[in-house]
C-alpha cells in the first residue's frame, strides 16, 4: 500500500518538525518537511499531500505574539491552506501550530474565517514544561481521537497556552458543535486548577477541533509520547506498550487510507 504523504510545514523557528515527522513515519506515513517559502513561492502545492501538520516551536521567534507572523503569512501568501482544511483532509496543529491555526482564523471554524479565540500568556506568566492529564470528548467527530481512551496523559511545554475566546458565544458554539476535544483534568478526571490546568485555559480547554473533525489544534505534544519510553514513569510501570500519542497520528493515516 502506498504510504500517504504528510506535509510538515516549517519556517524559521519551527522546532518540533523532526520528531513530528518521526511520529508520522512510525504511524506508517511518508512525511516531508516543507518550508512555508516553498508553498508561498508555488514551488510546492499543499494539495499534493494527504495530511498537513503544523508542528510546535517558536515560529519567527514568537515575536509580536506566538504564531502570529506565520498565521499572517498563511492568510496572505498560502491561501490554499483554507481550501485544504475544507477538503476534509486531516490537519493537525500542535502547540505553536495550534496558535497558528487559531490566529489564522482556521480554528474555531467560522463562516467568515475571522479569528474568534486566542492562546495567550499562561497565568503563571512563565514558560513551563510538564505532563498533564487530559479528558477526551468522546462525543466529538474528531478523526484523530477515534478509539482513544477517555483519559490520557501528554506533555505540554509553552509560555502562551491559555485558551481564551472573543465572546461567551464562541464558547457556546464550541460546546454545541462538540468541538472541545481535550480538557485538562486532575488524577480523578475532574476539572482542577493549576498545575492540573497548566496555563489557566478557559473551561480547561487543551484542544479543539472543527465540527466535522478533520482539523485539530492542541497545546499538548502527542509527538513526544510515541513510545512507552517517553512517559516520565515508564521505569515504574510495565503495563504500557506504547505511547498514546502515536494513536493520534495513526488515526490520521488510517483515515486517509480508507
Amino acid at each position: 500500500m502506498k504510504k500517504p504523504k504528510v506535509l510538515i510545514l516549517r519556517t524559521a523557528g519551527t522546532n518540533c518538525d523532526i520528531e513530528t515527522a518521526t511520529a508520522f513515519r512510525m504511524a506508517g506515513a511518508a512525511p516531508e518537511l516543507v518550508h512555508v517559502g516553498e508553498l508561498a513561492g508555488k514551488k510546492k502545492s499543499v494539495f499534493d499531500y494527504a495530511i498537513l501538520a503544523i508542528p510546535g516551536g517558536f515560529s519567527y521567534g514568537d515575536d509580536v505574539a506566538a504564531g502570529r507572523i506565520l498565521a499572517n503569512e498563511i492568510k496572505s501568501r498560502v491561501k490554499d491552506l483554507r481550501g485544504f482544511v475544507r477538503s476534509g483532509r486531516p490537519v493537525i496543529g500542535i502547540c505553536n501550530g495550534f496558535q497558528v491555526l487559531v490566529k489564522a482564523g482556521l480554528l474555531p471554524q467560522t463562516p467568515s474565517g475571522e479569528q474568534t479565540a486566542s492562546l495567550t500568556f499562561n497565568d503563571s506568566n512563565r514558560f513551563e514544561t510538564r505532563w498533564v492529564r487530559l479528558r477526551i470528548n468522546l462525543q466529538s467527530q474528531s478523526l484523530f481521537t477515534k478509539d482513544l481512551p477517555e483519559m490520557i496523559e501528554l506533555p505540554v511545554a509553552h509560555g502562551e497556552g491559555k485558551f481564551v475566546v472573543k465572546s461567551p458565544k464562541v464558547l457556546e458554539a464550541l460546546k454545541k458543535s462538540r468541538s472541545i476535544l481535550m480538557q485538562y483534568v486532575n488524577e480523578e478526571g475532574k476539572f482542577s486548577s493549576y498545575p492540573y490546568n497548566p496555563n489557566g485555559s478557559l473551561f480547561n480547554i487543551a484542544a479543539i477541533t472543527n465540527p466535522v473533525g478533520n482539523c485539530l489544534g492542541m497545546m499538548p505534544h502527542p509527538e513526544r509520547y510515541v513510545t512507552r519510553y517517553h512517559h516520565p514513569n515508564w521505569t515504574r510501570q510495565t503495563f504500557c506498550k506504547e505511547g498514546v500519542g502515536l494513536e493520534i497520528f495513526r488515526n490520521a493515516v488510517k483515515y486517509v487510507l480508507n
Binding site: 524559521a12 523557528g13 519551527t14 522546532n15 518540533c16 523532526i18 520528531e19 515527522a21 518521526t22 511520529a23 513515519r25 512510525m26 518550508h35 517559502g37 516553498e38 510546535g56 516551536g57 517558536f58 519567527y60 521567534g61 514568537d62 515575536d63 512563565r126 514558560f127 513551563e128 514544561t129 510538564r130 505532563w131 506533555p155 511545554a157 505534544h221 509527538e223 513526544r224 510515541v226 513510545t227 519510553y229 517517553h230 516520565p232 514513569n233 515508564w234 521505569t235 515504574r236
Partner: protein, 836 residues
C-alpha cells in the same frame, strides 16, 4: 558609508601614542616606551601584558614598518586568555610543601596526558576542534562542549546567559563539519538569592542575577528547540560579584562529518547574522577583572531566531556536502575565526579578506571594528567555488545571510583589506606562534592536618531529624524544579529519562538519558547517551586535588546510576578561577589539574575538551581584589547501550531489599554536616581511585543487566538525604538499619553513618527475586543490605543500639526539600514546610 580610511598612512600619532581611529596605521608605535605601550593597552582594553607588547613592537621593528590598528587588535584577540589559554598552557614552577615540580605546559602534562596515554579508539576528536567528539555507534558520533560566560553574566546576566548558550551551540555546530545540537546543559554558581548582606556599588542583587540568567538560558534554549536537560546549581556567598554560568551542548553527527579541512582557493563565506558594534573586545574583556567601570557594550546581544535559521540552513548544507570546513565566530569575531581557519590548510595556509563585503547592522563601523566585532549568530565556511550557488540557495530559503569575504590562500599570511586599503598583513606563524611565554610560579600549602579530636556525636532523635530537614532544605540540596520546569527539556522527543524523576515527576534525577532515534528516525535503534556533572567548590576550599577527584567520581557515578556505560565515558573540564597572577591561587589550580590527571588515569576515562575562565575577580572601590573560590566543573558523557534498561532514582515498590554500595568513612571536611555544625569536621573526602573504579564499573554492569530497580548516587548530605529523596520520589519509603552498614573502624556513631559524604557510594533498590543475583554481581565491592522499602509513607531508621532514630513523614521531608527556591524567588510561603 563607513568612516573608513581613505587617507594615506601619514604620520598622525604623537609620541604619547594617541591615535585617530579613522587612520589605519599606528604611527610611531616603534618608538613608544614600555610605559606608553601599557597606557595604550589600558586605554584600548587589549589585555596584553608587557612582554607581549614588547614582542609586537620587536616584530614590527624587524619588518621596518608600523602596525595598523587592526593588526594590534588581531594580535590582542588571538593572544587573549580566552582564545589562547596562556595561563593553562604556560610553563609553571610549582612548589607544594618541600616538593618542586616544573611544568613546560601545564595543560599538556595534566589534562591532556591521560587522553594521550589511554588511546581510546572511540575518541574521534580531542582538544583540537570546537568540541570533543566521541563515537556513539557504528554510524553516529557525539560532540560535547561546555563553555563559561561568567564575565558577561556578571555585568548583564540576561544577555550574558543568552549569548553563552548561543555560543556553545555554535561551538557544536562548528565541530567537524557540524553536529546537530540535541541537548543543552546548564550549571550555575550564584550567591544565595536571599542574601541580605552588603553589595558593592554597581553589583546586581543575587536574586536578580539568578532570575535573569535563568531567563536568558530559557529564552535562548527554548527558542532554539534544544532540550535543556542536565545541570546543577551551587550557592555560595563568595559568588556575589562574580556569578559562574556554565553552558553546554551535545551534538549528534554522522561519523563521516567528524573531520574538516580547508584548501587554498576555497571561498571564505560568512553566514548567519550581520556584524555590529555589540560585543567589542569580549575576548580581551574576559581576561580582565571586573570593576564598577566595566562597560556593558562588551557583552553581545543574542537573537535566537537568527541562530535557528543559521542552524537549519547549515545542517542542510552539510548534508548536501556544500562546504569543506567551518568554524563559529566567537571571541575575536572574524579575526579569530578566519585566522584559525587559515591555519587549517596546512603549514602554508593563508587567507585574503575583503572586509567591505561584510553584511553590517550599522554603517558607522570602522573597518577594524568589523574585523573584531563579536556580534552573535555568525559562522565562517570554507566553500569550493563551484558550490557557492547551491549554498546561497539553501541559505536563502531559510532566510539566513551569505556573503563571500575573500578566499583561503597558500601564502602563509593573513591579509585583510577594506576597499583596496590594507588593514592587516601578518604572517600566520607570528600570529599563532609568536606569543611570548614566561614561566609562572605557583605554590600550594596543604592546610595543616590537625584532625579534630573525635567526640561522639549526639544521636538525639530530635537533633537528627532537625539535621535531616535542614540538609534537605539547604540551598545546595533543595529542589531545582523552579528552574527546570521553565526549560523545554523534552523538545526533539529524545529525553527518555528526564531531569525530574519520580511518581510526580518532581524528584532529583542523577542524570538524563537521551535517545537519538527520535531525530534520526531509526526508531528500532535503542542506543542512547547520558550526561552527568560533578562540582563541589566547598571541597576545593580545603583541597583542590580532592575536589577534582570527587568531581570526576560524582560525574561518573551519576552516569552509572541511570544505566549508562562509564567504561566508555569521556570528560570535559571547566576551570573557573580567581586571580591566577597570585601564586597561591595558581597553585590551587595546578593542584586541581593534577587531580584531573590522576582521576582520568585512575578511572581510565579520557578528557576530550575543556575550557578555563580565569580572573573571576572583583576589584572594589578601595582597590581590594575579591576572587571566587577555585571552582572545577567536570562534565561526563557516556553511551547508554540500551535505553530500555535505564534506571531512575525513585523507590519502585514496597518490600524490596535496599543495598548500600561503597564503604562509609569519616568524611566530613567540606560536608553539609560541617556547615550545620559551623566548625571544622576533619579532612575532605578523597576517593581511593582503584576502589572507586571497581565500585562504579561493577555497579554499572549490574544496573545494565537489569538487576536494580532504582539507584541513587550519594552526595551532599550522604545516606540520609539520598534515602529521603528516593522515598518521597517514589512515595514508597524505606526502613534502614544502621547496624547493617559496612564502615571503616573509625566510624563510631549514627550521625557519621547518616551524614558522612564518603565518595563512590550508592543506594540501590533490588527486587526480592534478584537479590541473590545482585549480591553475586557485586562480589569484590563493598556492599551491604541495609533495609527494605516499605509501604508506610514514613522514613524509618533504626540506630546502632536498636532504638528508632528517624521516623519522619515523607510529606514533611518533601516539603522541606521543595520549599526554599519558590520562597526565595516567588515569595511563595505557601510552599513552605517546617522551618528548620
Amino acid at each position: 558609508m563607513t568612516t573608513a580610511t581613505k587617507s594615506s598612512p601619514a604620520v598622525n600619532g604623537s609620541a604619547n601614542g594617541s591615535h585617530d581611529p579613522a587612520e589605519p596605521v599606528w604611527a610611531a608605535w616603534s618608538t613608544l616606551s614600555a610605559k606608553a605601550l601599557a597606557d595604550l593597552d589600558a586605554a584600548h582594553g587589549w589585555s596584553l601584558n608587557a612582554e607581549e607588547l614588547a614582542a609586537i613592537q620587536a616584530f614590527f621593528k624587524k619588518l621596518k614598518r608600523e602596525p595598523s590598528h587592526a593588526e594590534i587588535e588581531t594580535l590582542a584577540q588571538t593572544w587573549s586568555e580566552h582564545c589562547k589559554h596562556k595561563t593553562f598552557t604556560s610553563a609553571i614552577l610549582y612548589k607544594e610543601g618541600r616538593v618542586t615540580k616544573r611544568f613546560k605546559n601545564l595543560l599538556k602534562e595534566t589534562i591532556k596526558e591521560p587522553t594521550r596515554k589511554l588511546k581510546k579508539t572511540w575518541c574521534l576528536s580531542v582538544f583540537e576542534d570546537n568540541a570533543g567528539i566521541i563515537a556513539l555507534d557504528k554510524k553516529w558520533a557525539l560532540a560535547f562542549k561546555v563553555e563559561t560566560h561568567n564575565h558577561p553574566c556578571a555585568v548583564e546576566p540576561y544577555g550574558g546567559a543568552e549569548t553563552g548558550v548561543g555560543g556553545v551551540i555554535r561551538d557544536v555546530l562548528g565541530a567537524g563539519l557540524g553536529a546537530k545540537p540535541v541537548m543543552n546543559t546548564d550549571v550555575f554558581c550564584f550567591c544565595p538569592p536571599d542574601y541580605e548582606g552588603e553589595l558593592p556599588e554597581g553589583t546586581l542583587h543575587p536574586r536578580r542575577t539568578m532570575m535573569s540568567v535563568v531567563d536568558g538560558v530559557r529564552d535562548y534554549g527554548n527558542r532554539m528547540g534544544i532540550p535543556t536537560a542536565a545541570g546543577a546549581i551551587w550557592f555560595d556567598e563568595a559568588y556575589k560579584t562574580n556569578p559562574l554560568v556554565f553552558v553546554g551542548t551535545v551534538g549528534l553527527m554522522p561519523k563521516s562529518a567528524v573531520k574538516k579541512s580547508v584548501q587554498p582557493g576555497d571561498l571564505i563565506v560568512a553566514v548567519g547574522g550581520r556584524t555590529g558594534r555589540d560585543g567589542l573586545h569580549g575576548a580581551t574583556f574576559s581576561s580582565a577583572s571586573i570593576d564598577d567601570n566595566t562597560s556593558t557594550s562588551a557583552v553581545q546581544v543574542g537573537h535566537a531566531i537568527v541562530e535557528k535559521r543559521l542552524l537549519d540552513a547549515l545542517l542542510n548544507a552539510r548534508d548536501k556536502g556544500l562546504y569543506r570546513g567551518l568554524t563559529d565566530c566567537g571571541a575575536g569575531g572574524f579575526s579569530s575565526a578566519i585566522g584559525e581557519m587559515a591555519a587549517l590548510s596546512g603549514r602554508s595556509g593563508g587567507a585574503r579578506v575583503r572586509l567591505e563585503s561584510a553584511r553590517l547592522k550599522t554603517t558607522d563601523l570602522s573597518p577594524w571594528e568589523i574585523w573584531v566585532s563579536e556580534s552573535q549568530e555568525r559562522m565562517v565556511l570554507a566553500v569550493p567555488p563551484k558550490n557557492l550557488k547551491a549554498l546561497e540557495a539553501v541559505f536563502e530559503l531559510e532566510g539566513s545571510g551569505v556573503r563571500v569575504l575573500g578566499e583561503f590562500t597558500n601564502t602563509g599570511r593573513l591579509e585583510v583589506s577594506f576597499e583596496e586599503e590594507t588593514l592587516v598583513d601578518l604572517e600566520l606563524k607570528f600570529l599563532h606562534d609568536g606569543l611570548p611565554t614566561r614561566e609562572r610560579t605557583a605554590r600550594f600549602d596543604l592546610p595543616s592536618k590537625s584532625s579534630p579530636k573525635r567526640v561522639k556525636r549526639s544521636s538525639d532523635r530530635m537533633k537528627v531529624a532537625e539535621i535531616l530537614h535542614w540538609s534537605l532544605g539547604n540551598l545546595n540540596v533543595c529542589s531545582r524544579e523552579w528552574v527546570i520546569r521553565q526549560y523545554d527539556h523534552e523538545v526533539l522527543g529524545g529525553t527518555v529519562i528526564k531531569p525530574l524523576h519520580g511518581l510526580h515527576h518532581d524528584a532529583p534525577g542523577d542524570a538524563p538519558v537521551w535517545w537519538p532515534g527520535a531525530v534520526t528516525g531509526e526508531v528500532d535503534n535503542f542506543r542512547g547517551f547520558s550526561v552527568g556533572h560533578g562540582l563541589n567548590p566547598e571541597y576545593g576550599k580545603l583541597d583542590p586535588y580532592a575536589m577534582a577527584l570527587c568531581a570526576v567520581d560524582e560525574a561518573l557515578g551519576n552516569l552509572a546510576c541511570v544505566g549508562a556505560d562509564p567504561t566508555k565515558a569521556a570528560l570535559l573540564d571547566n576551570f573557573c578561577w580567581g586571580d591566577v597572577d597570585d601564586p597561591a591561587q595558581l597553585g590551587g589550580l595546578v593542584r586541581a589539574a593534577l587531580g584531573c590527571r590522576d582521576a582520568a588515569l585512575g578511572f581510565q576515562t579520557p578528557f576530550i575538551s575543556g575550557k578555563d575562565s580565569l580572573y573571576n575577580v572583583f576589584t572594589d572601590a578601595k582597590g581590594r581584589k575579591h576572587s571566587i573560590p577555585g571552582t572545577l566543573l567536570i562534565s561526563a558523557i557516556a553511551p547508554v547501550h540500551d535505553i530500555r534498561k535505564a534506571v531512575t532514582m525513585d523507590f519502585k515498590a514496597p518490600n524490596n531489599p535496599i543495598f548500600l554500595v561503597g564503604a562509609t568513612g569519616e568524611d566530613f571536611g567540606g560536608s553539609l554536616y560541617e556547615q550545620w555544625k559551623r566548625t571544622p569536621q576533619g579532612s575532605v573526602p578523597l576517593p581511593d581511585l582503584k576502589k572507586a573504579k571497581k565500585t562504579l564499573w561493577t555497579l554499572s554492569a549490574a544496573i545494565q543487566k537489569g538487576l536494580a530497580l532504582s539507584a541513587h548516587n550519594l552526595s551532599e548530605g550522604g545516606l540520609a538525604v539520598a534515602a529521603a529523596e528516593m522515598s518521597f520520589a517514589g512515595e514508597v519509603s524505606a526502613h534502614l538499619d544502621l547496624d547493617g552498614v559496612q564502615r571503616s573502624n573509625d566510624v563510631l556513631d549514627n550521625v557519621s553513618i547518616l551524614f558522612s559524604e564518603s565518595p563512590s557510594r550508592f543506594l540501590v533498590e533490588v527486587s526480592a527475586e534478584n537479590e541473590k543475583a545482585f549480591v553475586k554481581a557485586m562480589r569484590g565491592v563493598s556492599n551491604c543490605r541495609i533495609g527494605s522499602t516499605i509501604a508506610n509513607p514514613v522514613l524509618r531508621v533504626t540506630a546502632l543500639d536498636g532504638r528508632r532514630l528517624i521516623e519522619e513523614s515523607l510529606h514533611a521531608l518533601k516539603r522541606s526539600w521543595q520549599a526554599p527556591l519558590p520562597r526565595m524567588l516567588d515569595g511563595d510561603t505557601a510552599a513552605d514546610g517546617r522551618n528548620a
